[in-house]
């Protein structure tokens, strides 16, 4: 055994401070009494990302195949939207988003 081994092997043991296990157990009981965190919904997230990816790929590959009237329709929709008051449009889109979110939330009571 060389000098370094001797020094590092001869570490003097220290005693835990008084009341250490009591403090630890108090912390453990606090930990046990707090509700478990809600896990991230990976299943839904992965399904959503997959659907978005499929939609993106479909848009990229199918858009050249769309008939020209759909482009005209898009331009007409844009013109129509530009005539609407932006504040009203913002309110409507917020309400629509909230409605979709509420619908999605309520579906969990139906399917799960």
């Amino acid at each position: 055994m060389d000098e370094l081994d001797r020094i590092l092997s001869e570490e003097h043991a220290i005693a835990p401070p008084a009341g250490f296990s009591r403090r630890v157990m108090a912390a453990v009981h606090r930990e046990a009494s707090t509700p478990a965190p809600i896990p991230f919904p990976w299943r839904y997230a992965v399904a959503t990302f997959a659907a978005m990816a499929v939609a993106l790929v479909a848009c990229l590959f199918l858009s050249p195949l769309l008939p020209t009237w759909t482009l005209d329709g898009g331009a007409a929709l844009q013109r129509a939207l530009s005539r609407i008051d932006p504040n009203l449009l913002a309110v409507c889109s917020t309400v629509a988003f909230a409605a979709v979110a509420l619908l999605r939330y309520s579906l969990r009571f139906v399917f799960f």
Partner: protein
Amino acid sequence: MADDEDLDAVRAVLTGDVSAFQRIVERWQGPLVNLAYRFCRDRGQAADMAQDAFLRIFRALPSFRAKSSFSTWMISVAANVYRSQLRRNLPELTGLEALADFPGLSEALVETAGSREELVRRTVQALPAKYRDAVVLFYFHEMNVNRASESLGVPPGTLKARLHRARALLARRLRHLFNSDTVPTEA
């Protein structure tokens, strides 16, 4: 035997008897506080680190699969806690590393550290993290390479390589403290 008692306590905790964790704390508080002290060399901080480690072990109990012994798994979790805590507090530990490279300072450093032994331990603490962790766990496990490598989560060969490199660094940094023929070169 002790591992059976630990496993009984683990099973009790997992079935909802949180108080059974006290048996684990009582049995392992000494080793975990001492391991923390080897990492940080401060008694107060060691107790805080060990408390965090016990909490992490409690949270992680459902993931214990009994592939290794409970003690090995527990020390591995604790070592991870200590290493990540030290990563946050590391800058204050690096001063000695820089000083040790200057010749003629060994006596002053010994005086600052309190003893030659303490200077060696502090120099270990100032090693790069992966070498420090290897040295600390190797000597904590009484120079058992297999147990130290399990605690560190690396193959035994990797641990041996890190120990070899750590010893070379220590030899260079402590060359003014030891005669060249007493400085170890190989694990």
